[in-house]
């Protein structure tokens, strides 16, 4: 047997000690942000309709515009608010006004200074007028009250988390570009001028958007990347090939097929992360049209929920990249989520029994009743969910006529004409429930023709009152309790609920750093992202 000498033992001990001491140093050095080459990015969706859409426009323009235009605040992964263009947002004691202190020395990309005039203009003309965020619904005035201070006044108390969440979502646009113009058709929407870390350079439609580094950015040393290029491939498999060929550094929102996410994630050259989607959790929803006398009955809705195997949808249709929903609020929402609400376990026999008891026995033709099932055509998985739900309902004697319209037709069918009995759709909700998520269920959210509002026609005065309290209650603990009450009512009445919560994944080269702590990777400015070129 080979023996180990004292010298060998000593050398081994020394080497181990040295490695132990050096390893963290090495790791620290590696994690220190460094100026790096241009970042090549992509995402799991299509090209935007414009680089910036003033009223929102969905994830694609949100991704492209937030690298140029900035909000007042941003949220970290623990939902703490960090300064961006505002260094402080301070409520008055009665929460009837807020003082915003703006960052000094910030200039727009065309060299014009960013001032309190911009903030006043944004508050009154853009945030309140165009974005129409509920947080600004009761905004009565915005006034420069100091060289770097703007005071917003409200007609009722406005909760701090509510307002600050809104200040994370709304971008600040230049007054000297937008004042007196039609915001929706302003030419700057396709070549925005902002204060952000990247300057718009070029948009080659069908191919890419190119940004250069903002050399005058307010954060010292940032952005770390020399530029940013967002590339578009309609075909997800082509994105996989682009990753493997080194032509893309980072892709957000499931940029490649689920099987490829697992395959690339197992390779040393790549990293995958499910972080960065805290304030934009996507979910697949099921919505019952209250205008249909049968599915407006709560026992029928509850029976249908017992007939649907949410775990099957998550595991098979989403290849495990989703989890079954348990409430109207996503489980990733640490602020308001509660699973202490009625649950509907998969039990088709119970579902059939409940329908019998509700007065809908199986008829001579083998069915209980028929419904129009519409699967919104903006995600291809919706069509697959539609096929599954059709079969699941068929198993309990409900005949479902499945319709999968394309995107414009889906908008019209579900939100314009309400021509459905059960709709399979989606929503992406920020941590703050009001108004994005509450608009799906409040009476005031019933706005015919406006998508992602209350299409079910559900109207419950008790729930409306809870949402109204959520809008004005300033005690966050009380707000959490109100949110729980809301989820309980919705879990019982089921006008709309989550089938599965999507597990969004970022895929990146292993040398891309600085993205894994972000609350919303899509809407972040990416000033802090860099490429470790030392390897």
């Amino acid at each position: 047997m080979k023996t180990i000498s004292r010298r060998t033992t000593l050398l081994a001990a020394l080497a181990t000690t040295a490695l132990t001491l050096l390893a963290p140093m090495g790791a620290t050095a590696q994690e220190d942000p460094q100026p790096s080459r241009t970042l090549l990015a992509t995402w799991g969706g299509f090209e935007p309709q414009a680089v910036f859409v003033p009223a929102g426009g969905g994830g694609s323009p949100e991704f492209t515009s937030t690298k140029i235009l900035e909000p007042m605040l941003e949220a970290d992964d623990e939902l703490n608010f960090e300064p961006v263009l505002a260094t402080a947002v301070t409520p008055s004691e009665d929460f009837m006004s807020y003082t915003i202190t703006i960052r000094e020395g910030v200039t727009w990309h065309d060299g014009t200074p960013f001032t309190t005039d911009d903030v006043v203009f944004n508050a009154m003309e853009y945030w309140k007028g165009v974005v129409a965020s509920a947080a600004f619904q009761f905004l009565t005035g915005a006034e420069a009250t100091g060289e770097n201070e703007v005071t917003l006044t409200f007609s009722q108390p406005t909760p701090e988390f509510f307002l600050k969440s809104a200040l994370v979502r709304v971008l600040v646009i230049p007054k000297h570009i937008y004042e007196g113009t039609e915001f929706a058709t302003n030419e700057a929407n396709n070549a925005p001028i902002g204060t952000g870390p990247f300057v718009f350079e070029e948009w080659v439609r069908g191919s890419h958007i190119e940004y250069s580094k903002n050399e005058n950015y307010w954060a010292d040393g940032q952005p770390y990347a020399d530029g940013l290029i967002i590339r578009y491939w309609r075909d997800p498999s082509s994105r996989t090939a682009a990753f493997e060929a080194g032509e893309v550094d980072i892709g957000v929102y499931n940029p490649i097929p689920a099987a490829d996410i697992d395959r690339l994630g197992a390779m040393d050259e790549f990293a995958t992360s499910t972080g960065g989607y805290l304030t934009s959790a996507w979910a697949s929803t099921i919505e019952f049209n209250s205008r249909n006398p049968i599915v407006s009955e709560v026992p029928v809705r509850q029976a249908i929920m017992h007939a649907i195997d949410k775990a099957f949808i998550a595991d098979v249709i989403y290849s495990g990249k989703a989890v079954p929903g348990t409430s109207f609020v996503s489980s990733s929402n640490s602020k308001f989520y509660s699973d202490d609400v009625p649950q509907y376990a998969y039990d088709p026999e119970l579902a059939a029994q409940m329908l019998d008891e509700a007065g809908y026995p199986v008829g001579d033709d083998g069915t209980r009743f028929s419904i129009e099932l519409v699967a919104a055509g903006w995600f291809e998985e919706n069509a697959q969910i539609g096929q599954y739900v059709k079969q699941a309902l068929g198993d309990i004697g409900i005949e479902a006529n499945l319709n999968v319209p394309d995107r414009p037709s889906s908008f019209r069918t579900i939100y314009g004409e309400y021509a459905y009995d059960i709709a399979l759709s989606n929503h992406s909700a920020p941590a703050e429930l009001v108004p994005v998520q509450t608009n799906f269920v409040t009476t005031s959210g019933i706005l015919k023709g406006v998508p992602f509002r209350n299409a079910s026609g559900y109207s419950n005065p008790e729930l409306d009152a809870i949402v109204e309290n959520l809008t004005s209650e300033t005690d966050e603990a009380v707000r959490a309790e109100l949110a729980h009450e809301m989820q309980t009512i919705l879990a019982e009445d089921l006008p709309i609920t989550i089938l599965v919560e999507h597990t969004s994944t970022t895929v990146a080269s292993a040398d891309v750093k600085g993205y894994d702590h972000l609350a919303n990777i899509l809407a972040n400015s990416w000033a802090g992202l860099w490429i470790d070129e030392s390897e």
Binding site: T38, F46, E47, Q49, A50, V53, P54, A55, G56, G57, G58, A132, A184, T185, N186, E187, N189, N190, V204, R205, G206, S207, H208, E210, G227, I229, R231, Y232, W233, R234, D235, S237, S238, A241, A242, E244, A245, E247, P405, D406, R407, P408, S409, F411, R412, T413, Y415, G416, L447, G449, V450, P451, F452, R453
Partner: protein, 323 residues
């Protein structure tokens, strides 16, 4: 020849008008309008604002009035305004057209050169190994979906070998100078043009093979051989020239389908062309752009057929005599 060109151009006028009327009607029948998409994406709920947009897009007028106005505008080369792009339709199309024309030209060049050569070789080596190999390849490339072929070529030549770029038209942000620019374009073009071109090459190979075999049996070919001309001279100077007529016909017919086929290839290779513009326009019910692209396609087909007629004129002396 001048009369032929004039006649063809005059015939194009009712054709293009027909294309406009038919497609305008089809668009009217499609569920969902541009206004639905715009109001949805912009989250516009104010009825007054929606009515203002309806008037802005000219959708507050009866369809027949909209159609009449559109035809009058097109006559003045005004294809309307794309509110989605914040730009004139002609300008939007002009941004995408070069990409598609380059891709179409390259793909059809590959298709003709490779397809016709393969067809001639297969016919010349009838029932021999080359014929079998080419016939097998023809079946393969005809059957293989272009998007699949594109992805496979990408995996081999971009991912595994690293020889060619994976997508786009140029290396973004690079300045290579005039010659370097051209080389960069060619490098980006090879895979998409090959993916698209090989499908059509398979068709041309079959047509060329059958045509060569048919012409080779004709009397004048036997006469040419009897005169003592070499086999290759008979093939090239007598057989191939006459056998090319069906290939030219096929070329004219297929130019419009290449435009359609480029939609898939543009998606796979992130190629900035008309195809991706068209898909976006249809999905967003961007009627001015959809109609603009349809009219443009009709013009392309008309000119392609004119070129085919002119080629016939050159290739077939009988047509020249009739003209």
């Amino acid at each position: 020849m001048g009369r032929l060109v004039r006649r063809r151009l005059l015939q194009a006028i009712p054709l293009i008008l027909g294309v406009i009327v038919l497609n305008f009607g089809l668009i009217q029948l499609a569920p969902g309008t541009m206004l639905d998409v715009v109001t949805s994406e912009q989250q516009i709920s104010d009825p007054a604002q929606i009515e203002r947009l309806r008037a802005l897009y000219g959708m507050d007028q009866p369809p027949i009035v909209q159609l009449g106005k559109y035809i009058l505008s097109v006559i003045q080369l005004d294809f309307g305004y794309s509110y989605r792009h914040n730009d004139e339709v002609l300008s939007v199309i002009a941004q995408h057209l070069p990409g598609t024309l380059i891709l179409m030209f390259a793909a059809m060049s590959i298709a003709i050169v490779v397809g016709v050569s393969a067809g001639i070789v297969a016919a010349a080596k009838l029932n021999m190994a080359w014929d079998a190999i080419i016939s097998l390849a023809v079946v393969f490339f005809f059957a293989a979906p272009t998007f699949w072929l594109g992805i496979m070529l990408t995996i081999v030549f971009s991912v595994q070998l690293g020889w060619l770029p994976i997508g786009g038209m140029f290396t973004i942000g690079a300045d290579f100078g005039p010659l370097g620019w051209l080389w960069d374009l060619i490098r980006h073009l090879i895979l998409p043009a090959t993916s698209l071109g090989l499908f059509y090459a398979a068709i041309y190979a079959r047509v060329a093979r059958a045509s060569v075999l048919e012409v080779a049996r004709l009397d004048f070919v036997r006469t040419a051989r009897a005169k003592g001309l070499s086999g290759s001279r008979v093939l090239i100077a007598h057989v191939v020239r006459n056998a090319l007529l069906p290939v030219v016909t096929m070329f004219g017919l297929q130019l419009s389908t290449v435009l359609g086929g480029s939609v898939v290839i543009e998606a796979v290779f992130s190629w900035p062309g008309i195809g991706s513009l068209m898909v976006d326009a249809v999905m967003s019910r961007n009627y001015p752009v959809v109609l603009g692209v349809f009219v443009l396609s009709a013009v392309v087909v008309v000119f392609a057929n004119l070129l085919v007629d002119l080629a016939y004129y050159k290739l077939d002396p009988r047509i020249k005599e009739k003209a």
